[in-house]
Symmetry: C2
Subunit: 112 residues, 2 copies
DNA sequence: ATCACATGTAATATAATGCTTACACATGAT
DNA sequence: ATCATGTGTAAGCATTATATTACATGTGAT
């Protein structure tokens, strides 16, 4: 019974998550991966997107930890990189923002 | 019994929301406003932030509709602009992303 | 050898964001 | 008049984000 579910604690975790989901193509990617995992080229075809651009978006999603990549050798012997969506559940409310707000210093540039 | 709660339907609504919350200072602003409404100069002092910069952040929050501004004349006769946080509740899950994903065309530049 | 298909990155161009400094205007109190 | 306090915006700059084009590598099948 493994729990691979995404755990968010700091406001940095949340800003990364929101940033990752602030672009329609990244929501699309996440949506496509929610159905089943895909390898990069396959995903690029589905998305009608070049791989270089796809990598840029995947990087953001991966940094936010809502997506994970793993290598696998196919039957034909080729190295494939599979991406999958991690399970998560965030209840986004004013209460959550109030909570996160407490840990954000008024002056981000100093160390308050 | 008025319901001023935020209603999100399209993926544009969601990307705007996520984009608005992708910066720590905007989460901080939302958190501060969750306590009580504030007028702009007051908020700027609390945030240790210049008004020009605050306006930039407020604009994003307002475009995402999670914050609303309204003018009021103070007792001393000055025009004040009050900002308040609107109530909202978003359940952010893979299912939501899958749902939104359906309405996002694979090629954003054309009109599919 | 060359093709099809998989991996990835480097370099570049363009657009959008974040932030600062400097303005401008209005009102009430001194 | 000028100060304190409120409103707002315009211009410039530095950085980041987005997107493209071009390149380099490896495997298996023909």
């Amino acid at each position: 019974m493994e729990n691979d579910s995404l755990i968010l604690s700091s406001h940095e975790d949340y800003t990364k998550l929101f940033d990752a989901l602030s672009h329609p193509m990244r929501i699309k990617i996440a949506g496509v991966l929610s159905e089943k995992r895909r390898y990069v080229s396959e995903l690029a075809k589905i998305m009608h997107m070049s791989r270089p651009l796809l990598y840029i978006h995947l990087k953001k999603l991966e940094e936010a930890a809502i997506v994970t990549g793993s290598y696998e050798i196919s039957e034909s012997g080729k190295s494939m990189k599979y991406y999958a969506l991690r399970p998560f559940a965030v209840r986004l409310t004013p209460e959550l923002l109030a909570e996160l707000s407490k840990t954000i210093p008024v002056d981000l540039k100093s160390n308050d």
